[in-house]
């Protein structure tokens, strides 16, 4: 019998099909943020607790006046990639198939009004040159490690990383780990920044798969006139001079937490830092208002449930167009550009 080459091909294909399978998992769908942590919530403008800022990062954070977001040209600037973890909205995953093979080409996490979409390229393409332009969303590649998706984002812009309380530079790198456990998705984020961080900034957020994504923001940002003082004098750039932030002591006044901890730094995120606090901290009086208390029967929704701690009276996470609190910003410390 004469052997046909096609048989050999079939045999080879059969053998190769038995090679170790990649362990991968489907992330498609809308994942509702559980939001039981303080990632996106803080009422005090100076709250760098546990954030591993370098001296430059701290200086940058303390010079920032949220009123600068009311400048027309800044109202629609987007948040950096870490906002996927600290922002208030769900993660909406879709699969991008290769048009020919239908295999996975990329994952896409939909953008919001103030966060660019994230496209996680899975085809092994390299990151761009260091001189390539940076975008709000950056450039992201992903790789499976077992059932875990690891994604790395580079080439994004400077932006504020926690409710206007600190910044990443445009040299930062964001690494995500997506671990799905049934209908629970845990995202671990590691932000590294040679300019503003002394150590990686690690955050986690947990999401639940939902079939009712009714709070997904679809509106686009539209600049409007917000602060008359900025409209009248477009050269003003709201900011605070070193040591002049008017809210510097609010955390200490509200929670008795020493200022040295409030301004962050890598040592504040390690357990041994508690020893430094022990003799300086006195528990403040009981909380009376906005403390996450559940609702009494018939009083509806309680505080601190659902979409994160923002429900508890903290300012909206987006902050876009938010007027500064009375007596803060809007020209205080503003200087001609």
């Amino acid at each position: 019998m004469r052997f046909k080459p096609s048989l050999l091909v079939l045999l080879v294909v059969a053998a190769l099909s038995a090679a170790p399978a990649y362990a991968q998992i489907d992330l498609t769908g809308t994942w509702q943020r559980v939001g039981q942590n303080d990632n996106g919530a803080s009422r005090e403008p100076v709250d760098l607790l546990g954030m591993p800022f370098s001296a430059d990062g701290r200086a940058k954070a303390l010079s920032y006046d949220i009123a600068s977001l009311s400048a027309t040209e800044r109202q629609c600037q987007m948040y950096p990639p870490i906002y996927a973890i600290v922002g208030p909205f769900p993660l909406q995953f879709t699969m991008v198939p290769d048009p020919v093979t239908q295999k996975l080409l990329a994952w896409k996490i939909a953008g919001w009004g103030d966060r660019d979409e994230t496209v996680i390229w899975m085809d092994g393409r390299p990151h761009p040159s260091k001189n390539a332009p940076h975008t709000h969303g950056g450039f992201t590649t992903g790789e499976w490690e077992g059932d875990t998706l690891t994604a790395v984002t580079t080439h994004f812009k400077l932006g504020d990383i926690k409710r206007h309380r600190g910044f990443n530079s445009d040299r930062a790198t964001m690494t995500y780990r997506f671990n799905r456990h049934g209908d629970v998705l845990t995202v671990t984020g590691l932000l590294e920044d040679p300019v503003y961080l002394a150590e990686p900034y690690a955050l986690t957020e947990i999401y639940r798969l939902t079939t009712n994504p009714n709070n997904f923001p679809l509106t686009a940002c539209e600049p409007i006139e917000e602060l008359p003082i900025l409209h009248e004098n477009p050269a003003l750039v709201p900011h605070y001079l070193p040591g002049k932030h008017p809210a510097m002591n609010e955390m200490t006044e509200h929670y008795n937490i020493p200022l040295e901890a409030v301004v962050g730094g890598p040592e504040t995120m390690y357990p041994e830092y508690r020893k430094k606090l022990k003799d300086k901290y006195v528990m403040p009086p009981p909380c009376k208002d906005g403390c996450g208390r559940p609702p009494a029967p018939g009083q509806g929704r309680g505080q601190g449930q659902g979409q994160g701690l923002d429900q508890q009276g903290a300012p909206p996470a987006g902050g876009r167009g938010a007027a500064p609190p009375a007596g803060r910003g809007g020209g205080r410390g503003a200087a001609p550009q």
Binding site: L11, T148, T150, T188, C291, G292, Q305
Partner: protein, 266 residues
Amino acid sequence: MSRALVVVVASMFLAFGLVRLDAQRGNPQPPRAPKAAAPFDLTGYWVSIVTQDWRWRMVTPRKGDYQGVPLTLEAAKVADTWDPAKDEAAGLQCKSYGAPALMSVPGRIHITWQDDNTLKVDTDAGMQTRVLRFGAAPKEANTTRTWQGVSQAEWLLPRPNVPLQLRPTERSADTPPIRPSGGTLQVVTKNLRAGYLRKNGVPYSENALMTEYWDVYTRPNGEQWLTITTQVEDPQYLRTARLVAPVFKKEPDGAKWDPTPCSSTW
């Protein structure tokens, strides 16, 4: 190509393939002990990284601060009666070091294999020990309720069979291969003694059920990070599940290990 050679080559491919398929499908292979079957190494010293919920973890939060915890009204009433001095006097200073809260307490953990089927997790904060047993669950009726309860552990390995559509499209030749590693440690804990989710008296009941997923990430620079997704269900004191995910970083040794007894006030 001679027919005989073709037959030999084809047989080798087939044999190789069948063996691999057999392994992937979980067909009979001698079971390995959990220690030997561990998909990653958890042993060693890990330090908690407190970048989240700092105000509720690094200091004792003020009474009545329940933000972030989906507690019931009944739970709030219980928490309103929190009296740390009373707890201390009653010898209950470890109430905030029970398993549902322990991994969020700032400190270091030391993980070792107690035997081939048991992981031991010691903490320096509160000097507690969690015992994570693999295999058949012990009979609860004979077990006294404790701060750390009874923990059942299981390795969750990556799925061997993957939908074709989820496989990435062809990767260029110079990119590293996809690592078929991974896996998760799942731990289910019950038989708990009632305690506090938060230092300031936010309660969980003895009927609480905790499910954890321990995921390790090794970075390209060799650093290892651990995320423990923690879900606490307690129909008595929680309206929905409590879900947090504390993070740890591996340390080279125990040089910073600092055993500190439980405290109700700090």
